[in-house]
């Protein structure tokens, strides 16, 4: 579970002659992964609001109903609890549901089914009714959308026993993490950073480190998105690329920031976190969700515990504020921006015991 070097953006990968690289946006990478999942597993089903003919409001399921038919890919009535409850029943009948919730903020009506049913059915039934449900949730903010279209639910989900939670930060990860999640026998909440849907990057459709099959390091635990030594920026989803920008800027001043892409928000790669921060001895966790009881608190608590002796400054949390996600016009004030992250970096670097 310890972190591997993230490989999709490194120049060296392109040199491996045998690796089939394609340029894909995250939206395309997920669409491609879904197609392959449906192809390989005839118990896999996709459903939700507008996922059929329309292909989803983000076109992530584009073309799949046409390709696999309306029995495999279907629109449901507009009711999120209904979508999840139906998914649970289908899983009980031996199917592998891959439902979509149209936007993060509309997962709330399904919270009862997710927490009291989806997350507990395996437990309640003593393992006889597994819930191989992959719940796709376009997540987080940054697209100037209406209210409730930019929520961060990771801390809510990560707290729920029985759920696993993952969020990819780029097309390569989206493709492999989704295929991995869909192969898991447990419920996985797959949080897609919608602000990154349209950013393209190379995707290695097999896995370049093993020259063929995907190895576990590429789909489990965290990854080091950029190595560094003065402090570790810990992030997930869309905040990873922002942290990479910050690291780039800091490097101009000779500060080498490590960027750790947490990826799995439950279970958290505690060993990977500890390994990085015990090297850099300083950490800043960055997320979009509100501060109090955000997942940053868990990360900070874990790091403060495991790196107690090596930490040279309190773990900084640069997060959304404890305010409702604001309208598009104030979005940039709310989501951690480069300045605010740099202030956080500065605080950990300049910290002196009093």
């Amino acid at each position: 579970m310890s972190n591997a070097l993230q490989n999709d953006t490194l120049e060296s990968d392109r040199e491996l002659a045998s690796t089939p690289l394609v340029q894909l946006s995250m939206q395309q990478a997920i669409n491609r992964a879904l197609g392959e999942i449906l192809e390989a597993d005839d118990r896999a089903l996709i459903f939700g609001e507008d996922v059929g003919l329309l292909g989803g409001v983000f076109r992530v399921t584009d073309g799949l109903q046409q390709r696999f038919g309306a029995n495999r890919v279907f629109d449901t009535p507009l009711a999120e609890s209904g979508i999840l409850g139906t998914a649970i029943g289908l899983a009980m009948a031996g199917f592998h549901p891959i439902p979509e919730i149209q936007f993060d903020g509309f997962a709330y009506p399904a919270v009862n089914q997710i927490i009291t049913q989806l997350a507990r059915m395996n437990y309640r039934s003593r393992g006889t009714l597994p819930m191989p449900v992959t719940l796709r949730v376009p997540s987080f903010g940054g697209i100037r959308a209406p209210e409730h279209h930019g929520e961060s639910l990771e801390s809510l989900f990560a707290h729920v026993p029985g759920l696993k939670v993952v969020s990819p930060s780029n097309p390569q990860q989206a493709y492999h993490l989704l295929k991995h999640a869909a192969s898991m026998p447990d419920p996985v909440i797959f949080m897609e950073p919608k602000a990154r849907y349209w950013n393209k990057a190379d995707v290695n459709l097999t896995d370049n480190r093993t020259g063929g099959a995907v190895d576990s390091a590429s789909v489990e635990g965290s990854v080091i998105a950029r190595p560094g030594k003065h402090a570790t920026l810990i992030a997930w989803g869309a905040m990873v690329s922002r942290c990479l920008q910050v690291a780039e800027l800091a490097a101009e001043d000779g500060i080498e920031l490590e960027v750790l892409d947490l990826r799995w928000l439950k279970p958290i790669d505690e060993a990977g976190l500890a390994a990085s921060v015990s090297r850099t001895r300083r950490a800043i966790v960055v997320h979009e969700g509100p501060h109090t009881a955000g997942l940053g608190a868990e990360v900070a608590a874990l790091v403060s515990q495991s790196c107690f002796d090596s930490l040279r400054a309190p773990v900084e949390r640069v997060t959304g504020f404890d305010v409702p996600y604001p309208s598009g016009d104030l979005e940039d004030e709310y989501i951690p921006n480069i300045d605010r992250i740099l202030f956080g970096v500065q605080r950990v670097l300049e910290y002196r015991r009093g």
Binding site: M1, D42, L45, N71, T76, P77, A79, S81, G82, L84, G85, T86, A87, I88, G89, L90, A91, M92, A93, G94, F95, P97, N112, Q113, T116, Q117, M121, N122, Y123, R124, S125, R126, G127, T128, L129, P130, P161, G162, K164, M184, P185, D186, K266, P267, I268, E270, A271
Partner: protein, 361 residues
């Protein structure tokens, strides 16, 4: 007021396309068998209340008065292909479809929330404490049968039976379930036991319009409202509903009008919200005595045979009691074992810490 069971009936279920395999008119053997089940369920229910008073189990939700509704519904289930989604009060259904009753009672002994019985083998989903919580599961499961049949080119579908109460009908999930089921044409029977009460709240303050069955029309779903204290009426209505769903004609709502003759649960005190007189009038004649009278009138059984069946039921309840007494706690390690199919490092570490600190190993 008249007994609830006599409430106006409603029947919008079209006649079967194919004649029902199960004969509508049950033969003497089946009638006696129904009585046997009613008697067993009655005894076991009374026994469980006693166990709670004796401190053997911490709590129980009696189904006194709902025996006809539950046995009638359960007897219409084909457990080789149908699947029951119960609430927390379906002991009688569990018994009728053949769930191991010691394993069933384990949940009331606070041993395992879902019960120790094998839900998959018995086609009886785990004990469900969330009101309305499993109604949508029945819809999803049933839609799965449609999909299975489509790929296997079958015509007879497995049917999901969702059990719910009058109180549950108020939950948004139940509405979503009925709408999804109708849109998907899923083979589901929504079996409502309208027992007059949701804890202390009477149906009149719960179900606007007065009938859950009457709501079905709004979804284009056929419905049957039936005297829930008449085991044969319930059996026949459920058989018809199951046959309709099995034939791929979509969902059906069955509303069995019955009465919760006991407290909501062993910790409830009905005296706070209803009088004994109310209970007498609303409850009407006891469903078991009604059935006994019928069998006597039809010369299917006599007092001696009832006594024999009742004695056997008593004995069976005693045996189940022995089993429940013998049930031991599950090891704490199972808290960790069943969270996931594939555990996680974090959970593994917590399990280790638990072992060290609590089991001292």
């Amino acid at each position: 007021m008249a007994p609830r069971a006599l409430a106006a009936t409603l029947d919008t279920l079209p006649p079967p396309v194919l004649p029902l395999v199960e004969a509508d008119a049950a033969g003497p053997a089946q009638l006696r068998d129904l009585y046997r089940m009613l008697s067993n369920v009655r005894q076991l229910d009374a026994a469980a209340v006693a166990w709670q008073r004796q401190g053997l189990i911490p709590g129980y939700a009696p189904m006194l008065g709902q025996e006809a509704a539950q046995v009638g519904a359960g007897a219409a289930v084909d457990t080789t292909r149908d699947f029951v989604f119960p609430t927390y009060r379906e002991m009688g259904v569990a018994y009728t479809v053949g769930v191991n009753m010691v394993d069933y009672m384990s949940t009331h002994k606070a041993i395992w929330h879902g019960g120790l019985y094998d839900a998959v083998a018995t086609h009886f989903a785990p004990f469900q404490a969330v009101v309305g919580g499993s109604v949508l599961h029945a819809v999803g499961w049933a839609h799965g049968q449609t999909l299975n049949a489509a790929s296997a080119a079958e015509t007879a579908l497995g049917v999901g039976l969702a059990f719910l109460g009058d109180g549950a009908s108020s939950q948004g999930d139940v509405h979503e379930a009925m709408n999804f089921a109708a849109i998907l044409r899923a083979p589901v029977v929504f079996f409502v036991q309208n027992n007059g009460w949701a804890i202390s709240v009477p149906t009149e303050q719960q179900v606007a319009g007065g009938s859950v069955a009457a709501r079905a029309a709004g979804y284009g779903i056929p419905a049957v409202r039936v005297d829930g204290n008449d085991v044969l009426a319930v059996l026949s209505a459920t058989q018809r509903a199951v046959a309709h769903a099995r034939a791929g004609l979509g969902p059906v709502v069955v509303e069995a009008m019955t009465y919760r003759r006991g407290p909501h649960s062993t910790s409830d005190d009905p005296g706070r919200y209803r009088t004994l007189d109310d209970e007498k009038i609303d409850g009407g004649e006891d469903p078991l005595s009604r059935f006994r009278s019928m069998l006597l009138a039809g010369n299917v059984a006599d007092a001696a045979s009832f006594a024999e069946v009742d004695a056997q039921a008593q004995q069976q309840a005693d045996e189940i009691r022995d089993g429940v007494v013998a049930l031991s706690s599950r090891p704490g390690s199972e808290m960790f074992d069943f969270v996931f199919q594939e555990s996680t490092p974090t959970l593994g570490a917590q399990a280790r810490q638990w072992r060290e600190e609590s089991e001292h190993v």
